[in-house]
Symmetry: C2
Subunit: 415 residues, 2 copies
Amino acid sequence: MANAEIIAVGSELLTPQRIDTNSLTLTEALNNLGVEVVGKQVVGDDRIRLTEAIRESLKRAEIVILSGGLGPTEDDITRDAAAQALGRRLVFSPEQEAILAAYFQRLNRTMAENNRRQAHLIEGAEALANPNGTAPGQFFRTGAGALILLPGPPRELKPMMENEVVPRLRKMLPRQVIRVRTFRITGIGESDLDRMIAPIYTRYENPATTILFASGDLFVHLRARCDSEQEAEALLKEVGDPIAEKLGDLVYTQNPAESLEGVIGRLLQDQKATIATAESCTGGLIAARLTNLPGSSKRYIGGYITYSEKQKQEVLGVPAELLAQYSAVSRQVAVAMAEGARKQSGATYALSTTGYAGPEGGTEQDPVGTVYVGIVGPHGTTIERIKHGGDRERVRTYSTQSALNILRKTLINHR
Amino acid sequence: MANAEIIAVGSELLTPQRIDTNSLTLTEALNNLGVEVVGKQVVGDDRIRLTEAIRESLKRAEIVILSGGLGPTEDDITRDAAAQALGRRLVFSPEQEAILAAYFQRLNRTMAENNRRQAHLIEGAEALANPNGTAPGQFFRTGAGALILLPGPPRELKPMMENEVVPRLRKMLPRQVIRVRTFRITGIGESDLDRMIAPIYTRYENPATTILFASGDLFVHLRARCDSEQEAEALLKEVGDPIAEKLGDLVYTQNPAESLEGVIGRLLQDQKATIATAESCTGGLIAARLTNLPGSSKRYIGGYITYSEKQKQEVLGVPAELLAQYSAVSRQVAVAMAEGARKQSGATYALSTTGYAGPEGGTEQDPVGTVYVGIVGPHGTTIERIKHGGDRERVRTYSTQSALNILRKTLINHR
């Protein structure tokens, strides 16, 4: 298997505010070609350091990709440094100049003199077309592999990697098929998930398994790399099916592009059902998730954010006695809020939340982080108490995720 | 000025899913000491590569900080590689073993045999206390500077950098004072902002200026590095005051920790005023922002998410004729929604949005991305039409930011 190194160029990437994310795009594309990334680095706008870094990377890896530093100014040192590291000259390309001139003409702008720098190619390199910017990329074949220059802006680099670099590398590399199977999971922590499925996936090096975690949303990716599609699919079945069985309804979808709110939208659509929300502590976050998707207005009727007791009474008709007897954060009030929202809106289902997001509030029985989730629908009432730790933002985000997951399970049960 | 390089260790940081963010924490702390980061890299769990990388970094920079690879397993190679690069032995420290044993006892867990690895120090290195984990850090003084080993988990690395590393480095380095001035800005694009203020800040190397952009929210940081506090403050005034004047009310705060919703909360509190929201296309995002902050329940009364025309009529009392005559996405309906929300809730102010988030909908006059924002308060009505490009998510996020900014300006005008 071939190895690659990635070098991001730019002093701004060495500040506390900026991070190189292009390397993630490049790594994914390289992995899909069966190429492993064995190192990556950031070098500032320093010609000597960059030349040295390229030279060293070319010793360690067959493929070296640089991003950034291809602009028209003195600071843009990547062309020079790469040529020097390879011991080649930079050659002016009239063809590239014509492409640049045409680009500026399309934008009705005059080409500045210093843009001519961008028409210089490393002797022997192929130019890579950049439809979204001025800097062409460069692809220089070395004995063992290639040195590749790409511009820094992601909207230029991304399509160039896909359309220009990947096809060239694919021709150079031994043919391999990559197939991926994804599980999207919620309702469990990362370490508990790993404990459940590690006994299955650790027995295999291929497919490679990665677990990803973001605000209560988990991804498990299995990536099989084989000589044929059949082989790859069989491998994903062999490892993925036991994982699917072990995780059961913790998996909300195996479609990597389908979000939790997307699954809920699909379940509602299947039932020709609609939904309304009545939120207290989540303050609109659930509504925002449910209205995230195009076309959600067909299923989402409306929402009420009732922060005060007065609003809970006036807007949702929660009885004052209930609030007095059980307090606003209680099972009883959560149910009454959902009932009120359902009645008000005429939706098939209504979902409510009431709880303590913190940092103030909470009781001994229901400390900060406690949220009651109520769901009322044609088949009856679901009420759950959830409890998340952390600060206000974490409690709100995780409670939103939990509430949506309770809704998903309710919709599945009543399917 | 001293230079530093940062090496993050771990094969997981070479996958398409993970990125090294520790280097941002480390860079900020180093910059504040007057140390410039001249390169950073990621090396996988490969002892030979890592040893070589450390050796090379020590040639280029006085200070080299490694993060990760200090765990108890065979894969954790940082200790070994660092010792080898320095030509030193690893020495078992009974004192560190005792600290580890005590740590496990506090957690009521038994210490595994392989944790003893973590009690090995590079000969001549100081141990750095890690109250949040098992791996001690290490601080090795070289002739020119230091090689520093820190664990990978941010919640361990961060406090160790602050409490253990920074004080040691400060003693080694020439004394410098760093002062920062921050502007938080909204209502303008990054390149327009830069065009406005570049003539001011580019005349100075000190303070260093960085511009940061995230979803319509902009930060300008000026960082002055001087021998005395007075000198630094004077410099920030010299550069910052003309920037403040040039930007006017585009700057919503100069407090780096205060968000746009925080400013709004403060303005409402000053007026002893409350607010309610009536959202259509933003679907709860504005409510979620306004309820983000602790104590927001004192100012935020409640919200209505009225997606359908029926809801706009029933919940907010928008007249059917208005909807028929002007359509739901119109100035008239935005105002009626805000009026309805204000009346319903009894809040001092009410804010409404109605628009086309896309991808479907829109008209010739009001294409996808158009949103009407209405604000009704004791001093009258504000109505603005905004238009953002991009996909549904971008339109919703940017419209939310714009609407909050319109609210901020309204509150300032009526102060």
